[in-house]
């Protein structure tokens, strides 16, 4: 589904990703861990197509298409979703209006007709229940005045609405209490099927107790330096990242 080859990326002339390789197949959950500054969020931003980042080398193939050649909105329409680490507030625009625009844009891209208001609301209600989002939240402006937990749940709610092929969760667990963590994880687990895939970027292995990854990758200095099964996450938790650094240097 996603093949990243020798990806190099920089921001303001500073090299962040330095030859990253990753293969993701349908039905898989990949966790990406690593110390601060390793390039975890950069990877998420580059995949989503944030302009500030410049890809200097390498390729990303998404379902047979050149991901890097697409604009951000086209990537989203093709089925790439990014759950933001810091969701953005859009004052005055209700979640309902925003999601209608979003769902319609994706449908239009796929040459499907827009959903009627009624069908849309029905669809939204179903997804709301899935991620335990209250109706009150969808009537409010996009992320405006949301608590940290509400913002993250709202990201998972949007993910449910768009039902992406590949979802990248950028430190969705940061700042969440255990209940919110459970809700977010439940959402992901319910959405998971053999046709889609998830990339879970996290600093701690705590989230991985709820979202069980098929693979754990350690990102260090712009490259994936170690991959392994879920047990690798536990090992990292126990030993920290220093042994990886030593191993890499050696």
């Amino acid at each position: 589904m996603l093949t990243i080859k020798n990806l190099h990326a920089e921001i303001d002339g500073k090299k962040i990703l330095k030859g990253l390789n990753l293969q993701i197949n349908p039905g898989e959950v990949h966790a990406i861990m690593g110390p601060n500054g390793a390039g975890k969020s950069t990877l998420a931003s580059v995949l989503a197509g944030k302009e500030a980042y410049e890809v200097t080398e390498g390729s990303v193939d998404f379902d047979g298409k050149d991901l890097l050649a697409m604009s951000t909105d086209v990537r989203a329409c093709e089925g790439l979703f990014l759950a933001f680490q810091y969701p953005v507030e859009i004052p005055g625009v209700s979640m309902t209006t925003f999601l209608k625009a979003s769902v319609d844009a994706v449908r239009k891209y796929k040459n499907l007709p827009e959903l009627s208001a009624k069908a849309f609301l029905q669809y939204m209600r179903e997804k709301q229940q899935m991620v335990e989002i209250t109706k009150e939240l969808t009537n409010r402006a996009v992320n405006e005045g949301f608590s940290g937990g509400e913002k993250k749940r709202n990201e998972v709610f949007q993910m449910a609405m768009l039902d992406p092929k590949l979802a990248v969760l950028d430190e969705t667990d940061s700042g969440l209490d255990i209940d919110a963590l459970r809700v977010v994880a439940n959402g992901v687990n319910q959405l998971k099927n053999e046709n889609n895939a998830f990339v879970v970027i996290t600093h701690y292995q705590r989230l991985l107790d709820y979202i069980v990854p098929d693979f754990v990758h350690v990102l260090y200095d712009g490259k994936i330096v170690k991959s392994g099964p879920k047990s690798l996450a536990l090992e990292l938790e126990e030993k920290g990242y220093d042994w990886i650094k030593e191993e890499t240097i050696a």
Partner: protein, 479 residues
């Protein structure tokens, strides 16, 4: 796409309504003197009191100087170069068939099919091309309720007692440079009178257009709502493309008597000039209402997207006790547009209340200023005002300015003022993009969110038009 290319894209957004009509005009020679004023008055077969009103204003105007205090910058206007009277030749029409087909075509291009509007929307339209009212619809229906809705010239002929009683009572002939000029040379406009206790059953609507080359347009509107009556009036404007700047100095007077309510909504989309700041309308308007007696209410709502220069402060004099004044405004400037707009709320009566909500959006190299005055007189015991002025910047070459003036002569007054300035962030656009929403649509979503509070004050059909206008004015402008 980079900011630069996106910003450049704004400029490729050509004015959609740029076309001119070829109608032979019956017009005065350019220039301004007493002779021209007598010519206008004679053309319109006005009574002597009207001519005297004009002449008095003109003589006073000659002693005045053009105001310089606004935050706008434009070349000096040569008032002797302007044609002060111009009328389409076909007149005295009984049915739509008699209207010049060119004029009908213009309306069609603007999307104002008179017949359709009549039939479908229930909006009575008093269409003004240049200076003469071409057609008035629904007049008879309104007549049954005693409502008068006609062109200003007609009102002078047929309801002189009402015109005489109220003309110049809200905006006096010597009020300001442009209003005084209007008093001297105004050609036409609308007149509305709602009798006691009558609720006007439909939105009254006027579309103004500036058409003849080099023709200044000076409309005059007077709306009187008698005791316990209600009226909602809509004014919508578009103008064809012109290379030379055109002066527009209208005067609108609103009078609300005891328990009466006037809601006045404007969507203004005059030609703003091209991407280099060439051409466009100079819009120097004086709009003022008076809540003359107790419990009256006047509400101004405006969506300003056009004109090269806008100088406009719809105001309310809260004279009666317990009266209410409201001002809701969205002003958009793009390219080289300049807007200095806001309101004045003058509290005289007891327990008077005013609300000001102003939303300024600046893009391109434009300058957008809010200028508001809240004045609470000694007599205005227990009065209050709430003002909110928000500015949204798109790109980094534009400016937003807020000039609130607050004066309170009474300690019981409560005055609140809130102001914010924000920028459409790359983060917001990126967030929308990541949800599949393209940049154009993202900007319009964000702008609509920003202006929602004001747009919801507009009547439904107008709100839709306003939303479209905002989209057109800001297409491609991203910061």
């Amino acid at each position: 796409m980079s900011d630069e290319t996106l910003l450049q894209e704004i400029t490729s957004q050509k004015y959609k309504y740029g076309f001119t009509i070829d109608i032979e005009a019956d017009q005065a020679p350019p220039g301004l003197n007493e002779e021209i004023i007598r010519f206008i008055s004679a053309k319109k077969k006005e009574p002597e009191w009207m001519l005297n009103f004009r002449l008095r204003a003109f003589r006073h105007w000659q002693t005045m100087e053009e105001p310089q205090w606004a935050k706008i910058d434009y070349p000096k206007i040569n008032y002797q170069d302007i044609i002060y009277y111009s009328a389409p030749k076909s007149k005295k029409l009984n049915s739509l068939d008699e209207v010049d087909p060119e004029i009908l075509k213009t309306f069609a291009k603007l999307g104002i099919p008179l017949e359709e509007q009549k039939a479908l929307s229930g909006v009575a339209v008093d269409a003004v091309i240049d200076s003469i009212s071409v057609k008035t619809t629904f007049k008879e229906k309104l007549g049954e309720k005693g409502i008068i809705f006609c062109s200003f010239s007609e009102a002078i002929q047929e309801h002189p007692e009402l015109v005489k009683k109220y003309l110049g009572t809200v905006v006096p002939y010597n009020d300001n440079y442009f209003a005084t000029l209007n008093c001297a040379v105004f050609t036409d406009g609308s007149f509305v009178y709602i009798p006691k206790g009558v609720r006007c059953p439909m939105e009254l609507s006027t579309y103004f257009r500036i058409n003849e080359a080099k023709t200044g347009q000076f409309e005059r509107t007077l709306i009187v709502a008698d005791e316990g009556s209600y009226v909602s009036y809509l004014e919508g404007c578009t103008a064809p493309m012109r290379d030379e700047n055109q002066l527009h100095a209208a005067v609108v007077e609103l009078v609300a008597l005891k328990d009466a309510q006037i809601k006045y909504s404007t969507v203004q989309n005059w030609y703003p000039g091209d991407e280099n700041g060439k051409g466009g309308i100079y819009n120097f308007v004086t709009k003022r209402g008076i809540c003359k007696e107790e419990n009256a209410k006047i509400s101004w709502t405006q969506v300003e997207t056009g004109s090269a220069i806008t100088w406009k402060y719809p105001s309310v004099i809260l004279k009666g006790d317990n009266t209410v004044g409201e001002f809701y405004s969205v002003a958009v400037t793009n390219n080289y547009q300049q807007a200095d707009t806001g309101t004045k709320m003058l509290h005289i009566g007891k327990n008077t209340r005013s609300t000001i909500v102003s939303k300024g959006i600046s893009a391109g190299k434009s300058q957008n200023a809010y200028r508001g005055q809240v004045k609470i007189m000694k007599s205005a015991i227990g009065s209050r005002n709430f003002s909110q002025c928000d500015s949204l910047l798109i790109g980094d070459k534009c400016g937003a300015h807020t000039f609130p003036y607050i004066e309170s002569a009474h300690s019981s007054a409560i005055i609140e003022h809130e102001a914010t300035t924000s920028k459409i962030g790359e983060d917001q656009i990126f967030y929308c993009n990541q949800r599949g929403i393209d940049t154009e649509h993202a900007v319009s979503l964000i702008v609509n969110g920003f202006t929602k509070e004001v747009l919801k004050q507009l009547p439904m059909e107008f709100a839709v038009e306003a939303q479209k206008l905002l989209e057109i004015s800001l297409e491609g402008s991203v910061g």
